[in-house]
């Protein structure tokens, strides 16, 4: 206790000693300012002065909804105008990718058409004849003929001979017209009455003795037209101009042709009555043509092998090894010939193996090597390169046989094959060895064709890609980046909105202002025009215009320009009506009468007094109208009447996925776009509402 007391005492003393008497009043060093500007409570200077526009701004910024709208709009503008500029990709940039897809690999079928394998000097056979060959063969098959002979218009003779079901021989007997020989001399005419009773011969002097010769007369009568030999002379009768003319064959005639040598002529003269002759080792055919009485001389080239027609193809043991036509024709020739043939210094022989397949073996070396197989089963790759191995072909053929036997239309088999890149080149690993890969082939029967598809690595347009780090909103049906197009599309939508509203407001204010200010008949006239414009149905007009723009193939940008003008022209009546109403009411206000009393000019009265007072309503109607115009533009683009592909607008982007399946599957394309449209329109409406409330002085906070 003592201690405590002591302590307390001490403490008290300490406290007391510590306490320094303090004057709480602040020490005044400076004198108070002598003149404090005194203001009364109601002095207007105490109140912060705000101009009407600042008051509006203040009220507007206090409106949370309007501010939200403003923020959305600013964000939208930044996204569309700055975003498109900063963005990595272009509006029309198409993206590609490598991907494994089931892709057509090739087709396989049992060959039924015969392909011609022409020997080297058979090129003289014209294409017309070549094309007919398959139909001739099918005709032969249906009639079960083994040979068929025919000639063409030039006198060439052809022979088709069946060697076996799959192999036909085609021979060609070529006859070429080389010259004509004309030796006839006119000696008279043979007049014949219509009755035919009193026929009459009129002959030149030396032959006049023949006129009365009845035997001659009868011969003439029998050979119209034609030729006959009478008393060692050859006579030729031609029927021209209804009156038969009588010629006598002269000793010397006129030879027209390539070879006009006397030797050839003599041979021709000597063989006029024969069918043919041989001159300098060449065979010729001579022929009298009764219709014009001259001799036709043709060269006979003889009967030669032209081609083999076959359904066989050669399956090379070494995949990709190419043989020429010479090899093929020689091989075909050897099948029913000697059995061996030579090609490029090597000897080959033809034989049938145990599976009854015709095999070509290389017997140049001691050990015969299988070189190629005959086959009627054709496998063709779509990329045109025949690099398929026999083992693949065998496997496929077995599969196809199974399918035909089982009546399947769809089947598949697995094959180990070398990997091929997108350009068709073989892929090798680092050690230079080919890379093998199991590949599943799907075989699908389409009539007689068997279509092969397998998984292939291809360079593809990246369509409808899911959102990723590269494409934030994926890609659309044309492989373009949706996010980029969203930004560019917004640009166009917003620009259209602003330009259209600007046009509307300009037109509306001018016409509405004139109507309201001048009144009377001017007002009546303009208001009737407004009524007419109100009656005009907007959508049908725009549809017609869209069709018109399509038909003249208008440029996308021009199209947008015209659309803006048309929308502006169709939209001004609303603004005009509003402005006119406002001005009508303002005109009767006392401050307008005061301006008249003050003698102000009309222009000043309109622009300084009327327009500023209409401005609030104008701003509100314009802001509200912006949303509407953007919506209209989107609608038009959605209907395909607005901006055209590849120009991006929001409506067009939704249009690109407008089919029901696309809408369900590619939501990541249209949902962001739809949201953008919604947000913009809502934001414009919020801002418009906010402005209207802010401009309304009666509105309380």
């Amino acid at each position: 206790m003592k201690m405590n007391l002591y302590d307390q005492k001490n403490l008290k003393e300490e406290v007391l000693t510590d306490v320094v008497p303090v004057n709480n009043a602040p020490e005044i060093d400076e004198e108070p300012p002598k003149e404090i500007p005194q203001r009364a409570l109601d002095d207007a200077r105490r109140i912060k002065v705000l101009s009407p526009s600042r008051l509006v701004a203040k009220r507007f910024f206090r409106n949370k909804l309007a501010m939200a709208g403003l923020v959305i709009l600013i964000a939208m503008f930044l996204l569309c105008f700055v975003g498109g500029w900063v963005g990595r990709y272009g509006q029309k940039e198409v993206f590609y990718k490598y991907d494994n897809i089931m892709f057509s690999f090739g087709t396989a079928n049992e060959r039924t058409t015969y392909e011609g394998y022409y020997v080297i000097d058979a090129s003289e056979i014209n294409n017309l004849e070549r094309n007919k060959l398959n139909s001739y063969i099918s005709e032969m098959r249906s009639k079960q003929q083994d040979t068929r002979n025919y000639t063409d218009s030039e006198g060439n003779a052809y022979t088709l001979t069946k060697l076996d079901e799959n192999l036909y021989e085609y021979r060609f007997h070529k006859i070429q017209k080389t010259a004509t020989y004309d030796n006839k001399i006119e000696i008279g005419q043979y007049h014949e009455n219509i009755n035919g009773e009193e026929s009459e011969l009129i002959l030149d002097g030396p032959y006049s003795s023949l006129i009365t010769d009845n035997t001659f007369k009868n011969l003439v009568k029998a050979n119209i037209p034609g030729r006959f030999v009478y008393e060692g002379n050859t006579y030729i009768i031609l029927k021209s101009n209804k009156i038969p003319t009588i010629y006598i064959a002269g000793d010397d005639g006129k030879l027209i042709g390539e070879d006009q040598s006397d030797g050839f002529k003599t041979v021709v003269k000597n063989n006029l009555s024969a069918n043919g002759f041989t001159y300098e080792g060449k065979d010729f055919i001579i022929e009298f043509i009764a219709s014009n009485g001259i001799y036709q001389i043709s060269r006979d080239y003889g009967n030669r092998l032209a081609a083999y027609l076959s359904t066989y193809v050669f399956d090379m043991q070494e995949a990709g090894f190419l043989v020429d036509t010479e090899f093929k024709t020689s091989a075909f020739g050897a099948v029913y010939g000697s059995g061996t043939f030579e090609w490029k210094g090597k000897t080959y022989r033809i034989m049938k193996n145990e599976k009854d397949i015709i095999v070509i073996q290389d017997i140049s070396n001691a050990e015969p090597v299988d070189f190629a197989n005959f086959s009627t089963f054709v496998v063709r790759r779509y990329n045109g390169e025949d690099t398929l191995s026999i083992s693949f072909k065998d496997q496929l053929q077995e599969k196809v046989k199974d399918m035909i036997a089982n009546g399947e239309t769809l089947s598949q088999f697995t094959f180990y094959m070398q990997q091929i890149d997108g350009e068709g080149n073989l892929i090798f690993n680092e050690e230079g060895e080919p890379v093998f890969d199991t590949s599943v082939f799907v075989v699908e029967r389409k009539l007689d064709n068997f279509v092969l598809t397998n998984l292939q690595n291809k360079y593809l347009i990246n369509i409808f890609d899911k959102p990723s780090s590269e494409h934030w909103m994926g890609t659309d049906g044309s492989g373009m980046d949706v996010f980029t197009r969203l930004m560019y599309g917004g640009r166009i939508s917003l620009i259209i909105g602003f330009v259209v509203v600007f046009l509307e407001v300009i037109l509306g204010v001018i016409l509405g202002g004139i109507a309201g200010y001048f009144g009377k008949w001017v007002d009546q006239l303009i208001m009737r025009i407004v009524d007419i414009f109100y009656c005009v149905p907007t959508l049908p007009i725009l549809i017609i215009l869209g069709a018109f723009f399509d038909s003249v193939r208008m440029d996308s940008y021009m199209r947008i320009m015209y659309m803006m003008i048309v929308l502006g022209i169709l939209g001004w009546p609303g603004v005009a009506r509003m402005v006119r109403g406002q001005i009508l009411s303002l005109r009767e206000q006392e401050f307008m009468i005061a301006t008249e009393a003050a003698g102000l000019k009309a222009s000043r009265r309109i622009f300084k007094h009327l327009i500023p007072n209409v401005m609030p309503q104008l701003i509100v109607i314009a802001t509200m109208g912006l949303g509407g115009v953007i919506l209209t533009e989107s609608t038009l683009s959605f209907l395909g009447l607005g901006a055209k592909y590849p120009l991006a607008t929001w409506g067009a982007m939704i249009n690109s996925v407008s089919s029901s399946s696309a809408m369900v599957n590619y939501t990541y394309i249209w949902i962001p776009v739809g949201l953008m449209i919604c947000l913009t329109v809502i934001a414009f409406n919020f801002v418009g509402d906010g402005l209207r409330d802010a401009f309304d002085p009666k509105m309380k906070r």
């Binding site: 401050f591 005061a594 009393a597």
Partner: protein, 403 residues
């Protein structure tokens, strides 16, 4: 059905048919007339219109003492009806009134609401196109000026409106409202413009810093000051004060009235003071005109009007002035009925329907303007002694009898 009832119905139907027939005939005859002779029809129509608006007056000879002379001024507003907006009648807002205002004086114009006081003020300013009569301002007929001349004369005649709230453009700062027309008419050189506006504002009791403010920041009294400043800034000679204080409370009224008086002294202004507040008019005016239904019924100096009134309407009007003395027994004359329509005014003396001294002649003949004393004009049959004598009526008796 009863035969009688049947008969009645038939008769009523017949009557209706007759009515319709008459209407059709009337219409047909009208159109027939038009198609028979369109020129005559139109000239007839114009003549009929002229007969309604008889613009007949003896032209005034300008007296240099007078700043404003009004002679037989008429302002009829057409009543339009029907699909083609044809004029079917006229509202005779001002029906031929004449008065003069001397330089530097104030004329008060009193009357009931709707008697045409404001129309007179505005017609003088040519804010309405007058129907008939003359308005001479400094000897020039205002209605005969062309647009350019009118624009030049505008600053000299100004107007202060009744409602200070609607007479100022809400989107303009006060300095601009006052100075706009000054700049337009180049009343002062550009260098002196600011000082001039400041001076005018100070004269009207406004401060320099009010220039940048907008009308909505001011009270009614201040606004009326702005209106006065706007009128005054154009350096006018004549101001029409169209009920400038009726929208204000009494203390402000006094301020404004005194301001007007001060300005009149300072600038030598002439006022036409339109009001229905008689005490204010008494305070400010030198002469007073009393209007009833578009007519000026009595016109005299203030003293004569308030202490030696003649017209029964003036009597009734003045009896309604409240007295600030509770012991005073008010002898109010209450007028019967309401004011007749100016579109269809009563025949003869327009006041006869409500006049307590009404005689037979009042409803039949229009009274003449009678100068009972020098400078005291009355329009009433009671003071037309010649006519009353000829009719054998003693006006004193009638007045006494009524009292």
């Amino acid at each position: 059905m009863d035969k009688r009832a049947m008969h009645g119905i038939i008769i009523s139907v017949q009557k209706k048919v007759c009515d319709v027939r008459k209407k059709i005939r009337k219409f047909a005859s009208g159109t027939g007339k038009f198609f028979k002779n369109p020129k005559k029809y139109i000239s007839d129509y114009k003549a009929a219109k002229k007969a309604i608006i008889s613009d007949v007056y003896t032209p005034l000879v300008h007296n240099p003492e007078n700043l404003l002379e009004v002679n037989n001024l008429k302002m009829y507003f057409p009543i339009k009806a029907g699909l083609l907006k044809r004029t079917v009648g006229y509202v005779r807002a001002v029906d031929g009134i004449s008065f003069n205002i001397k330089k530097g004086t104030t004329m008060g114009l009193v009357g009931e609401s709707g008697c045409g006081k404001t129309t007179v003020g505005r017609t003088i300013l040519r804010l309405y196109k007058r129907t008939g009569g003359q308005v001479l301002f400094e000897g020039r007929d205002i209605n005969k000026l062309n647009k350019k001349q009118l624009r030049l004369i505008r600053p000299k005649i100004q107007i202060v409106f009744q409602d200070p709230y609607s007479s100022l453009s809400p989107r303009m700062p006060v300095g601009e409202i006052i100075g706009e027309a000054v700049r337009e008419h180049k009343i002062v050189p550009k260098a002196k413009f600011n000082d001039y506006i400041t001076k005018i504002m100070n004269d009207c009791g406004l401060q320099d810093y009010h220039k940048d403010r907008y009308p909505h920041e001011f009270s009614g009294g201040q606004r009326q000051r702005i209106c006065i400043a706007r009128a005054l800034a154009l350096n006018p000679k004549f101001i029409v004060c169209d009920e400038p204080v009726s929208a204000l409370d009494v203390s402000i009224q006094a301020q404004i009235i005194n301001l007007l008086k001060d300005l009149q002294r300072e600038y030598g202004l002439t006022y036409l003071f339109i009001s229905h507040d008689l005490s204010v008019v008494e305070h400010i005016s030198d002469t007073v005109g009393v209007m009833y239904l578009g007519d000026l019924v009595e016109y005299a100096s203030t003293e004569m009007i308030f202490h030696n009134y003649k017209h029964p309407y003036t009597e009734a009007l003045l009896s309604a002035i409240p007295m600030p003395d509770p012991t005073y027994k008010m002898n109010r004359i209450i007028l019967e009925g309401s004011i007749p329509s100016p579109a269809n005014p009563p025949s003869g003396c327009k006041f006869h329907t409500r006049c307590r001294y009404c005689m037979d002649i009042c409803s039949k003949q229009k009274p003449k303007v009678i100068e009972v004393e020098p400078g005291h004009q009355v329009v009433c049959h009671l003071y037309d002694k010649e006519q009353l004598n000829s009719l054998g009526i003693d006006p004193e008796e009638i007045v006494k009898h009524e009292k």
